[in-house]
Amino acid sequence: MSDMRTPLSRVRGLGSAKKGTEHFFMQRVTALANIPLTLFLVGALVVHAGSDYATMTAFLGNPFIGLIMLLLIVSAVYHMRLGLQVVIEDYVHGEATKLLALIANQFFAFTIGVACVLAVLKLVIG
């Protein structure tokens, strides 16, 4: 209760985290990348709407398609991890719950990302 300093003065002199604009910037960079990448995926899914297993796996097994899929996965997962982080920071106020939610966000994003990458690699490399 004795601390009458403003929040700004309390952090002054502690040094910056050097991450000021990284979150904002990467949110935009991945958003930009997501546009052509997701449009490609939607287009591919539409064209293959009636395809059977063999046709679909042959398509996904093409290295160029695999490359686009990997770029999409990395960009989309990065983007959604940043996005949900902001949602959590906005709505979860308890320190412990917020920390747990932020960690859960990291775990979820990494798990989805690694799972998708593993699947694409198997489809391409066999």
Binding site: M1, D3, P7, R28, A31, L32, N34, I35, T38, V42, L45, V46, V47, H48, A49, G50, Y53, M56, T57, L60, M69, A76, V77, M80, G83, L84, V87, I112, A115, C116, L118, A119, V120, K122, L123
Partner: protein, 134 residues
């Protein structure tokens, strides 16, 4: 100490106090579709893992995506994707410092709510055409 001073401050009125506007709804929808797409990546991972696993696993994905509830989810998924994409494009315009006056905000809001609906409809007509529905 920090908590007490924070709690003593007056809060701005919550959303139910205000008259609903399109721009406000779009702001909320942008976040909601973002969260929905986040959850939806489970389906993307399921689809890819099933394709990588084998024909039996893939048949399960096909069965669910062909069922009415699967179609409903995929329809919502595609709309959420387009809506979030156009919401993002709106933010790109604002990032350049343009489009903040009320007239343009309203125009952009209308365009970015209608185009995703048209694109979603178009994508599904095309998908059904590729499935041989017409």
């Amino acid at each position: 100490m920090t908590d007490q001073t924070t709690r003593a401050r007056p809060l701005s009125p919550h959303i139910q106090i205000y008259r609903w506007t399109l721009t406000m709804m779009l702001s909320i929808l942008h976040r909601a579709t973002g969260v929905a797409l986040y959850a939806g990546t489970v389906l993307l991972a399921w689809w890819l893992l099933a394709a990588a696993t084998g024909p039996e696993s893939y048949a399960q994905v096909q069965a669910v995506s062909a069922a009415w509830y699967g179609r409903l989810v995929l329809f919502g998924y595609s709309w959420a994707l387009f809506h979030h994409m156009f919401g993002g494009l709106r933010h790109f315009i604002w990032d350049t410092g343009r489009g903040f006056d009320l007239k343009h905000v309203e125009i952009i809001a209308r365009v970015t709510s209608i185009l995703p609906l048209l694109l979603t409809a178009g994508v599904w007509v095309a998908a059904y055409a590729y499935m041989g529905a017409f």
